[in-house]
Symmetry: C2
Subunit: 501 residues, 2 copies
């Protein structure tokens, strides 16, 4: 550290020349603030960080693999409020008290790293992405221009390029963003821009009704996106799925014709690779044929299923994905890169992403910088500040190699097979359907219903059992959640067709 005490001064120059009130020891006092005093006690702060890191290491990282620990010390909201000291007061708390707070936060939080955390499509601890995430927080970057994020922008470029390779495109573009839902919004807006670039400036007012098509089993973000983008949820056309939850291509084409007949303007088909509850993969090749025939943008929401691309054994689930115009893929799910790590990938290389999203803010994106400004990717984004989410996936990829990532996928799907076989053998468990991915959906049938015939009465009774739900379990990224049978699909085809059990 420099010994030059002048460097502690907020600005170089002689403080005595200022129109300020000098106090003893040449303090520079402006508006009652001593400018050249220390703002924080760095030594104490550093010590606090060190102690907290030790706590995090002991209480979270080292316990992550310990099945004897609780997943969560559950408390209902009102009780938890009593247990935690949430109030923000006028004066701060001392470090030892803050460490106690940290301990409480950990104690009452859900340990998503825990071997028994079965929820919401992700789980487990990846040591490499964790290190990358710690680095990100310490460096606190924002990824918009090369001059402030040189390394992270190059890393993002490298990761996108590799993901594009796994999709099977020769080239492409993309952007990491905060979530699969947001990726789907990006794609929807991009498809709309491609359909009619004027919408960027003119808006939708006065245009014919834009309409898009997606599977009845799609993620709920499609509705959110249509609403947010001003398209309207009624203009999301939900295409019927087959018994395995896959979009029926013939139904899609019928709906497109029907929409045209009604004067609406189809512009997008969103196929799903790995639906949220059933883990179904839409038939991409057949859907791509239809999109080609009708000149429609094909987006594939592979937020969940995209990771199968890493496995030579399982990538056939996404056969035809190279024909998509855009793909959403979240490495934070099965590949364990940490929340959030989500890419939108785009086949176009004519800078469509930038044309569609740019606002050309002159304070950030000057065109006369002294380096190649194509690295200033911030103007492709709907965000201004943006986190370097590609970096954590890159670190894991560096650590495990492509083969290690493949193994991760293969293992998850082998675990699923194992669970399926278990369910089939056990009394009181009923498989909903043979899974093709890591989602295993089954019912627990209480003893009172086990002898009953599977008619309407059976399903009615199963539905009203308190707390009893259809269980959708995914392996590795393990997901023990529930939907009542009657809520299970958008098109309400369940509950009756559970013939596969």
């Amino acid at each position: 550290m420099s010994s030059d005490s002048d460097r502690e001064c907020p600005l170089d120059g002689d403080p005595h020349q200022q129109e300020m009130v000098p106090s003893k020891k040449s303090a520079v006092l402006v508006d009652g603030v001593v400018l050249n005093g220390p703002t924080t006690d760095a030594k104490a702060g550093e010590k606090f960080v060190e102690e907290a890191c030790r706590l995090i290491m002991e209480e979270v990282v080292l316990k992550a693999t310990d099945v004897s620990e609780k997943v969560c010390e559950w408390r209902p909201p009102e009780q938890l409020k009593q247990l935690l000291d949430l109030d923000m007061r006028n004066t701060g708390e001392p470090h030892h008290r803050l460490l106690e707070l940290c301990r409480d936060v950990i104690r009452y939080s859900v340990k998503t790293n825990h071997p028994r955390f079965f929820n919401q499509l992700y789980a487990g601890l990846d040591y490499y992405s964790l290190v990358a995430r710690f680095m990100t927080e310490a460096l606190n970057p924002s990824v918009y221009t090369y001059e402030v994020s040189p390394v992270f922008l190059l890393v993002e470029e490298a990761v996108l390029k590799k993901m594009i390779e796994f999709i099977g495109w020769k080239e492409g573009d993309g952007i990491f963003n905060p979530g699969g839902s947001v990726s789907n919004m990006y794609a929807m807006n991009l498809a709309r821009y491609k359909y009619c670039p004027d919408i960027k400036e003119k808006g939708l007012s006065g245009l014919p009704r834009l309409i898009l098509f997606t599977s009845a089993e799609c993620h709920y973000s499609m509705k959110k996106a249509a609403s947010f983008l001003g398209i309207g949820t009624e203009n999301v056309c939900f295409v019927e799925t087959d018994g395995r939850g896959k979009m029926i291509p013939e139904e899609l084409e019928k709906q497109i014709w029907q929409a045209r007949k009604e004067g609406a303007a189809p512009f997008l088909v969103c196929a799903t690779s790995g639906t949220t509850v059933l883990g179904a993969f839409d038939p991409l090749d057949e859907i791509a044929d239809i999109c080609e025939r009708h000149g429609l943008w094909l987006h594939v929401d592979a937020s969940w299923g995209g990771s199968a691309l890493m496995s030579r054994k399982h990538r056939k689930l996404l056969r035809g994905i190279h024909r998509a115009d855009s793909v959403a893929w979240n490495p934070h799910k099965m590949l364990m890169a940490g929340i959030q790590c989500c890419a939108l990938l785009v086949k176009d290389k004519s800078d469509l992403l930038k044309k569609c999203y740019s606002a050309k803010a002159s304070y950030l994106f000057q065109q006369d910088k002294f380096y190649d400004v194509s690295y200033d990717t911030g103007d492709k984004s709907i965000q201004c500040s943006r986190r370097p989410d590609a970096f954590k996936f890159w670190m894991t990829w560096k650590a495990l190699g492509t083969l290690g990532l493949e193994e991760r996928v293969n293992r998850a799907l082998a675990l699923s097979r194992y669970l399926v076989e278990e369910i089939k053998k056990r009394e009181g468990f009923k498989l909903l359907l043979e899974p093709e991915y890591a989602n295993i959906c089954f019912w627990y049938i209480p003893p009172s219903l086990r002898e009953m015939e599977e008619g309407p009465e059976f399903w009615e009774k199963l539905n009203v059992q308190p707390g009893l739900r259809l269980i959708s379990y995914t392996c590795v990224s393990a997901f023990l959640s529930g939907a009542r049978a009657r809520d299970l699909t958008n098109n309400q085809r369940w509950p009756q067709p559970l013939r596969s059990g």
Copy 2:
């Protein structure tokens, strides 16, 4: 840790009963994967995390306060690619190699914590938010339902409540989201929903042209939002600003009348509290009067200036903010909570946010849970997975207290005063205007131009100097960026009116 070896088995039950190939030591082999073997070497992984943490501590945290360190070891893109080993290969790298990579990433990254980092509206290191961010990464939560994020949802509620108090509302609602740009989008959509709830389902097609009003000095995200939401950038009406960059209320009202006359449908005024380049604060009270008269939603983009609310001395800059319908406020800027920490705050308490954003996904947001489901705030969001960004701000607030946060703001603004006085005294520096916040805009005039009269020729020459830009410098959250004079404002009133220098 449990000594029961069965627990290492992916599922309870006797593996010998399975239709699988048992290898030696009762391995459960499915599809070529040994399911009951360890997936990763936890001990080695833990050791790697510990070593990396030490590196981060030494190279980032401990050096953060050291002015003798470089802010960045700058390399142009092509050269940096050579220096970094970015390739992702089939096989992984050993830990010692990964640690070298980490070291390189740190070395070539910009140290945003560095005392000499002057860029992009944030800077410095807050030890408390850093600890919270490390905890977040270790716990890897996603904030949508209380059952998976009990602590973080209660923390978010507490922080929002406190921010609402500082705005001056009796009650309200809100959501943390990934950026001020996204906050502005949220507000725009909310105002549109309030104006015409049917748009959620029906979309904008067939409706009159919606129009919104904002200052010519507003953040570029207003255009991005209008484009993304299907409103169109041409329907963002930029209201003229005065010599200090503040929206002129009379001009606003004129524009509203004009828009009405043209058959457009005004629905929103977005005022800015703390513009990006000039740090200007729009006159909120006068604007609120106009919004009341015309029945328009008033959104205040206080992403940058909102932090002044924490200071009794400076909160007058936002006089009238309590009359806003929504406010964007980013504690990751002057309050140093870490990228990203951004709240959209809404005055309405009739659950407007939820009505506007909900998609009611039954796999997450069941209504018959065993706790108060109003804590399942995920359906208020455009995201599905969401990071617990409120938590880092909460930790800083707990550590410093309200008074400590106030001091942080007061110090930043005192530093600004100091810089202004310096600029005034120095030859070759020209203040653009007297700042009211922490943005200090000035020109460096090269010796060759110092004797020239400030006519058109002077400004032309100043503009074409290679690399010479108007410098906008903000204190604490220090921002040394640039816009050419001709790019400085949306309404192109500059360069000529630099009379305040």
